[in-house]
């Protein structure tokens, strides 16, 4: 029973990281009818931006001047600004120009954008960054051989607390974020407009919604969500690689498809389902860790074949 409980907590934790990336997919898909394949990369970009900002603020002595939590909030804000900017760049460069062409074009161009993000991270983060950031936190110290090796994510979340406490905070932050998103989508004019565009774009135009403005706001908000998810992923993994975005993107996209691409709550359910399957396969099947991702993706394939609309379905996947 103890094992079951422990696994369930890990699953929820992993599910949180998938969920936030999946929500990025579903927000963007909702307003653009396009799968933005670089969501995972934007999230990882966010965690690297936070790492970079941390290094800079460390050497500037910021942590000595302001209280710790102020600095951390500031770092997350910096990550959010960077990710929102990348969200906007993604929209302007790899989606908007292809609005009137085949639906395959933005798919390819967002994959290309993901590669760009990966390569930028690979170029920017040299080993020297790592030695500084890990000096602060002995727990995550790693030996670095080349510029492309994993970077240690600084302990910004409860640095003095236990691992369990840190994990609970990650779950709590995700829950708060989901709650805020729920309020935003249902109680504000912009949020309602986002839903309206997702349900009926032509009618949204006719209703007088400034559709292009709402789309831009969606990309900004999606970027901020992805930055926070990057922060949580970093705090959870402790070790980030520049190409982690591909894996998180794949998992986030799968979660969104399983839940129902057009539905934000589908992303939560899908993310949790995938995480539970992965964690329990690793936990209960001998040497299951090797197969956990395979089982998860098999489930995705089963959904695509038998229930392409996802758990909370709307007609959606046909548009991909």
């Amino acid at each position: 029973m103890d094992m079951f409980f422990g696994l369930a907590v890990s699953a929820i934790l992993l599910g949180c990281t998938y969920t936030l990336v999946a929500i990025g997919f579903s927000l963007f898909f909702g307003v653009m009818d396009v799968v933005v394949f670089c969501c995972g990369d934007i999230a990882i970009f966010g965690s690297f931006a936070i790492m970079g900002a941390y290094v800079v603020s460390q050497s500037a002595g910021l942590f000595g001047i302001f209280p710790f939590w102020v600095c951390v909030t500031l770092l997350i804000l910096i990550g959010a600004v960077f990710c929102a900017a990348w969200g906007l760049i993604t929209h302007q460069l790899s989606i908007k120009p292809f609005q009137n062409s085949s639906e395959l074009m933005p798919l390819l161009s967002t994959i290309a954008m993901g590669t760009v993000i990966k390569e930028v991270l690979g170029l920017l983060f040299k080993p020297v960054v790592n030695t500084i950031s890990t000096a602060f936190d002995s727990e995550s110290a790693v030996t670095v051989v080349s510029g492309r090796n994993p970077q240690g994510f600084p302990s910004l979340l409860l640095p003095g607390g236990t691992v369990d406490a840190r994990h609970l905070v990650i779950i709590a932050i995700t829950a708060v974020l989901l709650f805020l998103l729920f309020l935003f989508l249902n109680k504000t004019k912009i949020g309602m407009s986002m839903q309206a565009i997702s349900q009926n774009k032509e009618l949204s135009l006719m209703t007088g919604i400034n559709v292009s403005r709402v789309i831009i706001i969606t990309f900004l908000i999606g970027g901020v969500m992805l930055a926070i998810s990057g922060f949580l992923v970093g705090s959870y993994q402790k070790l980030m690689s520049f190409d982690d975005g591909a894996m998180y993107g794949a998992k986030g996209f799968s979660a969104a498809v399983v839940g129902g691409l057009r539905n934000t709550w589908g992303a939560v359910i899908g993310g949790m389902l995938l995480a539970f399957v992965e964690v329990f396969v690793s936990g209960y099947i001998p040497r299951g860790t090797a197969y956990s991702s395979i089982v998860a993706f098999v489930i995705v394939v089963i959904f695509i074949v038998f229930k392409p609309d996802g758990i909370i379905g709307d007609k959606s996947v046909e548009k991909v």
């Binding site: 004019k189 309602m192 407009s193 839903q195 309206a196 349900q199 009926n200 032509e202 009618l203 949204s204 135009l205 006719m206 209703t207 007088g208 919604i209 400034n210 559709v211 709307d314």
Partner: protein, 238 residues
């Protein structure tokens, strides 16, 4: 100006195309203030394209459009809606996962929050069937109720010009009757209406003037009387 009827909408020489295929060719028309003006034409004649071009949802290649004398060629769609043009197009559907009330609130996008409830109350009085369905998802409404919702959503804003795109589309005869009763009531409120219809007899029963559109061009225009006597309308195949 007094004595003459001011046109709510003036269109002059409107051309649109879909890709390289021309859709509308040199369409000019006026919607007189406070009256119902109809545009009659067969399927594919360009009626809906015209309706969408007025809102800049379909882009115009040439031509000018004026709303109450003010040139609006450079206005994006949302500005045209904000300035008082509303469209109800039954074929476009609803926000199907939102409640009826939220659909109406989306229609009231530019209404001040303090006036919203009062305005919604007026709508429920004109469309009692919607009051019964307030909390229901719009996707669960019947065809007739959806048309009512589409019209109600368009008039929430108190538009200067209301475009009704095929309001009788796909409705049972009794519902068509009801929809035209609503149009008569709206006409009495002095709102200018551009009624785009395939059902010429019904449209002419409420319109005071109108146009016939064929293959993207206006081929006849006149008063309702002139229209009902014209060869274009007598032809039952149109």
């Amino acid at each position: 100006m007094s004595g003459t009827v001011v046109n709510t909408l003036e269109i002059d020489g409107l051309d649109t195309s879909y890709g390289r295929i021309p859709m509308l060719r040199g369409v000019s028309l006026n919607v007189p203030g406070g009256q119902v003006c109809c545009v009659l034409g067969a399927n594919g004649a360009g009626k809906t394209t015209l309706a969408k071009a007025i809102l800049n949802i379909v882009k115009a290649d040439n031509g000018t459009m004026k709303l109450e004398g003010e040139c609006m060629d450079s206005w994006p769609t949302h500005k045209r809606v904000k300035s008082g043009i509303a469209i109800s197009a039954a074929a476009v559907g609803t926000f199907h996962k939102m409640t009826v009330e939220d659909n109406l609130k989306m229609g009231a996008y530019y209404i001040d929050d303090s006036l919203l409830n009062e305005r919604l109350e007026e709508i429920y009085q004109s469309f009692p069937v919607l009051r019964e369905r307030l909390r229901q998802k719009a996707g669960t409404l019947s065809g007739g109720e959806r048309t009512m919702l589409a019209i109600a959503r368009a008039v929430v804003n108190k538009p200067k010009l209301l475009i009704l795109d095929e309001p009788s589309l796909g409705l049972a005869p009794i519902m068509v009757e009801e929809v035209f009763e609503i149009i008569r009531r709206l006409r009495a409120t002095q709102i200018s209406i551009l009624l785009v219809e395939q059902n010429a007899a019904k449209a002419l029963s409420v319109a005071s003037s109108g146009y016939v559109i064929q293959k993207g061009a206006i081929v006849f225009s006149g008063t309702a009387d002139e229209l009902s006597r014209s060869e274009f309308v007598e032809n039952p195949v149109m």
